[in-house]
Structures are given as structure tokens and as C-alpha cells.
Point group: C2
Chain length 307, copies 2
């Protein structure tokens, strides 16, 4: 059940129709590890931060049994910083500032205690860096899940495809699936992308849910219709964290096991968007997670009587 | 189980990325009645056409046990005509031509044999005309389902709200729900719209499925991920026809009954988009309908183990 999570730990400054934040803690590895920590302990993080990173947040991670042994601290440098503004529909956003800082020359180090992990979650990073992690593991994990984004399709498609060819599960959104495959139909896109290597493909559709493809099978997981989406930042990473955390907990990497994992990931993501940043993920109770999963069960449940 | 369907019967000329058609038969009542005819007989249609309408299509309707006794034929006038072009994503379209013709002064006549119907489907029409139908029925049906569109929200909101206040189920798409309620969140929109009268609200999201709201409950029905959407024209009406047809067949107007009806409506819509116009709806077999419904069952099926 040992899990390693690789990704950014960062500062974000966010603006939504509901308000704005100063620099708050964000980054893929932050959201993934917090979300996964509700399913499996420890969560072993590989990342890099500057001397400016928030020690209180590191302490919180420790309290949640997240190991930061693989988090390099570059005292004289600054943490990755992203600033963005969401438009009224919350489905689109613009980037205001991107400062790579420590992430610019990130050289991931895998502590000895992380070796021989069974599950690996590669959060969004340069595909070369994701591949370096794979090369530095002594043994191939039982399951490798990779997240990425359109940015790498724009500037590093060859590198990206090389890395995609090495993983078991790829997680991207619908627009990215179309860009990566050149196909508009998601069914056709999925077929092309799985031919690149991954046996499983998750296509995230935000408020419209997510699709899981495997061979010629497809599973559809809804998103919970919410009163209000307060801040969508980190929802995809929180989804990924719930997904890999649930798999690491159960050890079930079958198609049916992944269906259940996607429902748990979706439930975690539905918490994430209710408050700014990681706020809602800091202290969830088992009961409210169970209740939220039950809401997803109810949302799609029906008895069919064939006509 | 008696069902009355009110709506346009028309000619459409369509252009999609896959090709274009000359004038082919279309219109809300055409799609609704064809779709419903796979569940219940007879389907009693109220509509109006010009002398130019396609007699072969009327014959086809009769073969499928669709009564056209309530279809007025204005020999010296022309049928309603709409021409539109779909963009590459198939989710948006532009109207090229709209000729109201016989629909401009449509005065619906309810034949005596249609009176005392149990189920009424009001397809998209001017809300005043929809209300005239209600006034001309001797008894209120057991269930009244209404479809409408943004056009009436733009030019006749007061009339529209008056009609909406008289029906049991309203069926609109997500953008229309937002426009009608002034709320972006579909959960909030649903609450406001149900406060206008309808006890049930269906929000159609095209390729993203559909939501059914009732009191504080919500059900999510997926759309089937398809290889190719050939022509989306009529998909919403075909959905409505499958929905009301299934309800007329089963007589079950509970929330659970409507869930099953939505799955059947979704299955019928998934056929509609596979070919131009009504082509795919002319001669479906019971077995392929059952198989399609089963695909929807499989699409969302999972066993949950709470974490």
C-alpha cells in the first residue's frame, strides 16, 4: 500500500467571483497528498520548495502522516508561484503570473525509504522530470498514474508522449484529450491515447464528471451538482489524490476497483471546491467523506426495468 | 396510457461537418411521436402542416400507430421550415433560415378522440399556444410535460412563466435553466424554477447527460459517449419522446419512475444522433433498444465499498 506522490508544492494567488487571496499554499503534490492522506498512510511526497515555503503547512502535512523526506528545501530560492483569475462561469481562467523559481531546475530525489513503493502518482510536471522519477526508482511500481496538462502538449509533445508510454493510467481533461489525440470524439480520442501506452485513461470533464476508459469498456462518474463552486483550484489534483489513495488502500487495480476509486476521487474533489485553496481538505472527518460518497451513489442510482 | 403530443411538424435543411441535407422532415412533434411510439400506442399528435408536407412521412407515422387526426393540413400554405448549420464541435449551431409559415397562426384543435388523455407532452411552441392546448382539454391530464427554448425567454418571458406554472415537468437545457432563473449554479436554478410551478425539472446537458430535480433530490443520467455524433438535430425531442412514452407505458410518475424514463429517453436520443434527421428512428427493433438501455446501465454501474 506504499504510495509516492510527485509534484509541485507552491504558492497560489487566486481571484474568483467570490473573492481573492494573497499567496496561499497550493501545488499538485499538496492537493494530491492531502486528499490521499484520508485513505492511506504514509503518503510519501517528492517535491521542491524555496526557503519562503510555509512551515505551518509542512507541519500540517506531518500531522496527516504525509512524509516530506523527499521534499527538497532550497533555502536561498523562492517557491513556485502561480496567480490566476477565474471568470464568472468558473470553468475558464486566465493566468496572471507564473514564476517557476525552484521548479525551473527541479532534480527529483527519491529517499531510500520511498523505494519499492507499490503506487506512484506523477502529478503535473515537466514530462522529463516525471520520467526521471521513474528512472530513479529501483523497481517499477505496481501502478503508475500520471497527470499532465495542455502546456506540455504545446511545448514538449515528444517528451510527453515518451513519458505517457511508460505509465498505466493517464489522467487529463477533455480538451487535453482532444489536443493529445487530434480527435474530437472522446471515444476515438481514448482509443488513440491508450494506443500510446496507458491501459487506462481518465478524462476529467469538471462539473460534468469524468470518464474512465479501459480496452473497449467505459465508465462514467458524475460530478455532484453543487450549490456553489467557490474555488476550483486543485480540484483535479484532489480527484487524483482520492483516486490513487483509494487504490493504495484497497490494492485493487481492476477496472471495477478503479470505478470505485474514481467515485472516491470525485467525492474528495467536491469538497475541495467548497472553499479557497486547500482549506476544506485540512480536516475532513471519515463520516462526512462516507456521506459524500453515498451522495454519489444516490445520484446515479436507478432500477432499470427493460421496456 | 393515452398520450397526446403537441408540437411542430416541419421541414429542416441541415448542414453538419459530415454533410448536408435538402429539406427533410423534422419538427418537435415528429421526433417526440416517433420516439414515444416505441413505448406506447397510439401516440396522438396535435400539429399543423402545409400542403407541401411529406405524405410518405404521414404514412410512416400511421404505420407506427401515431394518430394524425389532430394534425391540421393547410393545403394552400407551406409547412414550417428551419435551416441550420452545426459547427465542428456539434454543440453549437447557427440558424440560417426560419420560415414560420403555417406555424405563425397555429390554432391547435384537439379531436374528441384525444380528450381525457392521461399524459400530455407539450413540445416546443409559443407558450400561448401550449396554454391554449391545456385550456381545450376537458380534463387535466395525470402528467403534463413541457419543453421550451431560450427564444421564448427572449421575447415572451411573462407568457412563458404563466405556462410553466401550469405543468408538472419542465424540460430545458442548462443554458436555458440559467437564463430562466438568473442563477449560474444549476442547483440554485432548479430551486427557483420549481418554485415557478413544476414539481419536476429536467435539465438537459447534451453530450454531458441530463439532471432530474424533484424537491431536494437530484438524479444524474449520463449521455452515452459515442464514436461520432452525426447530426444532433431532434435529440432533445427524441429524449422527451422516450421519456413521456416510457411513462405512458408504465404509468409510474414517481421520482424513481422518472429516473427510469430519463434513461430510456437518453437511449432513444443516442440513436437519433447517429444519422441525419429522423432516419435512425424509423425502424428500431425492441432488442436494440433494450441493448442500448443496458449500455446506460453498465455505463454508471459500480459497487461501492465505503472507505
Amino acid at each position: 500500500m506504499s504510495l509516492v506522490v510527485v509534484g509541485s508544492m507552491a504558492f497560489d494567488a487566486l481571484e474568483t467571483p467570490f473573492g481573492k487571496t494573497d499567496k496561499i499554499v497550493g501545488g499538485a503534490a499538496t492537493y494530491i497528498s492531502l486528499s490521499a492522506s484520508y485513505f492511506v498512510k504514509p503518503v510519501n511526497v517528492v517535491s521542491v520548495v524555496g526557503g519562503d515555503f510555509d512551515q505551518d503547512h509542512i507541519n500540517l502535512m506531518h500531522q496527516r502522516n504525509i512524509s516530506t523526506e523527499g521534499v527538497q528545501v532550497k533555502e536561498n530560492e523562492k517557491s513556485f508561484f502561480w496567480s490566476g483569475r477565474y471568470f464568472n462561469d468558473m470553468n475558464s481562467r486566465e493566468t496572471l503570473v507564473t514564476e517557476l523559481n525552484v521548479l525551473g531546475d527541479f532534480d527529483p530525489i527519491i529517499p531510500e525509504s520511498y523505494q519499492n513503493c507499490e503506487y506512484l502518482m506523477l502529478g503535473n510536471l515537466a514530462p522529463q522530470v516525471q520520467r526521471t522519477v521513474l528512472e530513479r526508482l529501483n523497481n517499477r511500481p505496481k501502478l503508475i498514474v500520471m497527470d499532465t496538462m495542455n502546456f506540455w502538449m504545446d511545448i514538449a509533445m515528444d517528451e510527453l508522449q515518451k513519458t505517457i508510454g511508460m505509465v498505466d493510467v493517464l489522467s487529463i481533461n477533455d480538451e487535453e484529450a482532444r489536443q493529445l489525440s487530434g480527435e474530437y470524439s472522446l471515444v476515438k480520442a481514448a482509443r488513440k491515447i491508450m494506443a500510446m501506452g496507458p491501459k487506462f485513461l481518465i478524462i476529467k470533464k469538471g462539473e460534468h464528471g469524468a470518464l474512465l476508459f479501459h480496452e473497449d469498456k467505459v465508465f462514467f462518474a458524475p460530478a455532484l451538482p453543487l450549490e456553489e463552486v467557490f474555488d476550483p483550484t486543485g480540484a483535479g489534483d484532489t480527484f487524483a489524490g482520492g483516486f490513487i489513495g483509494y487504490i493504495a488502500k484497497t490494492g485493487d487495480i481492476s477496472f471495477d476497483g478503479m470505478k470505485r476509486a474514481i467515485i472516491h476521487g470525485s467525492a474528495m474533489a467536491s469538497f475541495c471546491v467548497e472553499k479557497f485553496g486547500t482549506e476544506r481538505l485540512k480536516n475532513l472527518g471519515q463520516q462526512e467523506i462516507d456521506q459524500r460518497v453515498q451522495q454519489f451513489v444516490n445520484l446515479v442510482a436507478f432500477d432499470t426495468v427493460l421496456s
